[in-house]
Symmetry: C2
Subunit: 466 residues, 2 copies
């Protein structure tokens, strides 16, 4: 079959579907090509099921506070991992089906199953079909990084894509990689009573780069589970019916190993090199973050596949931008303030400028607040963690933050939205902070910045003159 | 003893202490007069202990989700109310002592114990002492409303000031009044297994006035405990060793009754009428909300005692404003956007314009979002409640909100801060909303407003052109 379309979208994940929502506004003549199961990474194997697991882990972990809170027999609670996983899958299925139903089922022959390969900049081969498209959007997502050497004992290895498909989990688990996903899952499984040993080749965990925050988060995590940080990459070997995990002089026998050492873009099978696109050392094409266009070609790249900001809300924006631009006069769009949240206990979050961008900048100061003293957090037995706010010395403008604090997911939004509006700490501290809330921790953080700033405000700090 | 001071502050609660913080910056010649126990209403009997109780109630209530989440033996958990109350008091004592230590202990003879009474606009009588002050700040707080008829069976009546002092609580409890405090406490005690019967003379509970939100909240609460709404005021009568609570045709026998029918300003003993201050029908003096000054007198009134906004963060602002103005050239201050949060399940909150201000205003529309569909809330088994946002039709400016939603305390801050900055729904929807978070419920709420607005945005709704 040969087919001519205005737009071909490769990939029916989050980015592809958001692109589709824009494309549909202008043309009916499109095709959505998908290889493998429908449903987004986010809903199928990513954000959604992990949050369900984390929530149950928190439930179960709360029992440690029960006795001192006046709730008896917490020691009688028992966890049933198969039921936990079933619950997680049930949640996942509801959300996957909801997403798919919303978007795919009505497409009919506009949806095509198969692997796409570039013939020229306007032509794709999908199995025996040839699609000629005026514009093409690549939104093929990513796949967990995996070492084929592990194929010798494949049944002992779990990728994060496979974790939630398990019927049960063993008593001991090695975890390779404590990035964002590894730390979320590793901590949750540990709270669920699985003995995890985590190996991480860096000193910084959970994507952190601010040493203050990392130090606190590491010390909190070390109370919960074993971590080997900053050593050699772990080597795996099958020993009897276990896996021996070795890093330097440390070794441990575990029942299985969960691999969470990153995800790689699904680019290779597209054969971009066939059509003369220059790829960098990592095999990535050059694209414009404001338009999502690759070079000046009729090809756009959106979502995890471009490896720029592999987060759902960014994939949504990138899909929308690409989708808009393939059916309209091309525009450049303003991208959002960077915001990433790690759903650990306490929540890690990164907002705005990164630590490495400000650490040597003498025009920036760092305000800090220790949430172990925070009143509301204390009332909820979650008083721990720390937040750093990066502020421009000249005027108190908020530039960025790294935090690992209770309720961090909410505070991270509040800080991100302040940065979007280019607010200063002086403006933000005039907002109402209700009592007793975790937001008062943010107030204390702003106050610390203001104490360190030289420009003092006249009148009352928290209340402007009329 | 006769003493001359620059400033006398009557009341060492939140408002008085915040006033003191401003006064101290300009003069050492002040006196702080306090009658009764030190420590703020908030920390002693109000916000703080109630949040501790609510948190334990939520812990205990979570057990209903345990079985389906894969956590076994939830039915073996038992609550020990005396231990719960002890835990609450322990939390409270830490916070009360922290507050007092911070502010009172260093005052020496600048702190005076006793009841103050006005002799003239500059003179106070405190026991045998006479204080002449150039400026006086009234910050005497409030007391629970109480009917002296109940003295016939005083040991069966609990005020909210007494609740947390109890060693134990009985199996059945009547609750008079489902305002903000009554609903918080009533729901929490119900979750802790106490059979509560709540009598409320209005149809609207928890301070709500938006009928959509009230309807949902009422139906959620009715699943948890018995409410008699909108009927006659309950009458109480001792029958054997119980109290019979009667309202119209409904009656019930309860072990004790918790009274939460409001708090009244502690004004009477000051004898304001002696010095020619005009009091309104409710016995309240006229004061300026921007300066806290009473008429044009050298007297200021701050905190719960003025009955304007009886909330900690407002008491803090009022104390600061009064404190600033008694020692500086008087200024008018901009007051914060109204924000009140009720720590029920789900959280109720009121932000900005009240429902009654907008309900008949044709220039305002109401956007709505049903949190029973919210993805993250579903993953946490807390998907319930509803949010209404009040928006100016002409430009989408956010004016106010009433909500009863999970995580409402955070969303309420986010909405309040948007109103402080006079943001429109179009501006706010361009912010990053991380996935999967409760903030996406706010996104959906904004989206509903935008769908109902006539002025459509060009390009992509969520992403501005560069």
């Amino acid at each position: 079959m040969k087919k001519k379309v205005d737009v071909a979208i490769i990939g029916a994940g989050s980015a592809g579907l958001y692109a589709l929502s824009q494309v549909k506004k202008e043309t009916d003549n499109f095709i959505l090509i998908n290889d493998g199961p429908y449903g987004t990474t986010c809903a199928r194997v990513g954000c959604m099921p992990s949050k369900s697991l984390i929530h149950i882990a928190e439930y179960y972990s709360d029992r440690h506070d029960f006795e001192k809170s006046g709730i008896r027999n917490a020691d009688k609670l028992e966890i049933c991992i198969p039921d936990v996983l079933q619950r997680v899958r049930k949640h996942r299925d509801i959300l996957v089906n909801y997403n798919i139903k919303k978007s795919i089922t009505t497409l009919g022959d506009k949806a095509l199953s198969g692997k796409a390969e570039f013939i020229d900049v306007n032509t794709l081969k999908v199995g025996d079909d040839e699609i000629h498209a005026q514009k093409i959007i690549i939104a093929t997502g990513s796949t967990p990084v995996y070492d084929i050497a592990w194929n010798d004992f494949r049944e002992y290895i779990l990728t994060t894509d496979e974790l939630f498909e398990q019927k049960d989990l063993p008593p001991t688990l090695g975890i390779l990689g404590l990035g964002i996903i590894g730390l979320e899952i590793g901590q949750a499984l540990s709270k669920l009573g699985i003995k995890v040993t985590c190996v991480h080749s860096k000193e910084f965990i959970g994507g952190l780069s601010d040493p203050d925050i990392n130090k606190v988060m590491v010390s909190l995590c070390e109370k919960e589970f074993e971590m080997w940080r900053g050593g050699e990459r772990a080597s795996l070997e099958k020993v009897g019916d276990k896996i021996q995990m070795t890093s330097g002089k440390r070794e441990v026998l575990v029942d299985k190993v969960l691999v969470s050492i990153g995800r790689k873009p699904n680019l290779k099978s597209l054969k971009l090199e066939n059509i003369g696109i220059t790829l960098d050392k990592k095999g990535m094409p050059k694209f414009n973050r404001q338009t999502m266009q690759i070079e000046d070609l009729p090809i756009y790249i959106a979502g995890d596949v471009n490896a720029d900001r592999p987060l759902l809300h960014e994939a949504a924006d990138e899909g929308r931008i690409a989708g808009y631009n393939v059916v309209n006069q091309q525009k450049s769009f303003k991208r959002k303030v960077p915001l990433a949240i790690v759903f650990t206990d306490p929540n890690i979050a990164f907002v705005g400028k990164e630590y490495k961008e400000i650490k040597d900048d003498v025009s920036v100061l760092i305000g800090s607040y220790d949430f172990s003293k925070q009143a509301r957090a204390m009332l909820m037995n979650i008083n721990k963690g720390i937040a750093n706010l990066y502020v421009q010395k000249s005027d108190g403008k908020i530039l960025g933050a790294q935090i690992a604090v209770p309720g961090g997911e909410h505070l991270a939004h509040q800080i991100a939205w302040a940065i979007e509006q280019e607010l200063t700490v002086y403006q933000m501290i005039e907002f109402p902070f209700y009592h007793p809330t975790l937001e008062e921790g943010l107030y204390a953080l702003l106050l610390d910045c203001i104490r360190k700033l030289e420009n003092k405000k006249e009148g009352i700090l928290e209340i402007p003159f009329l």
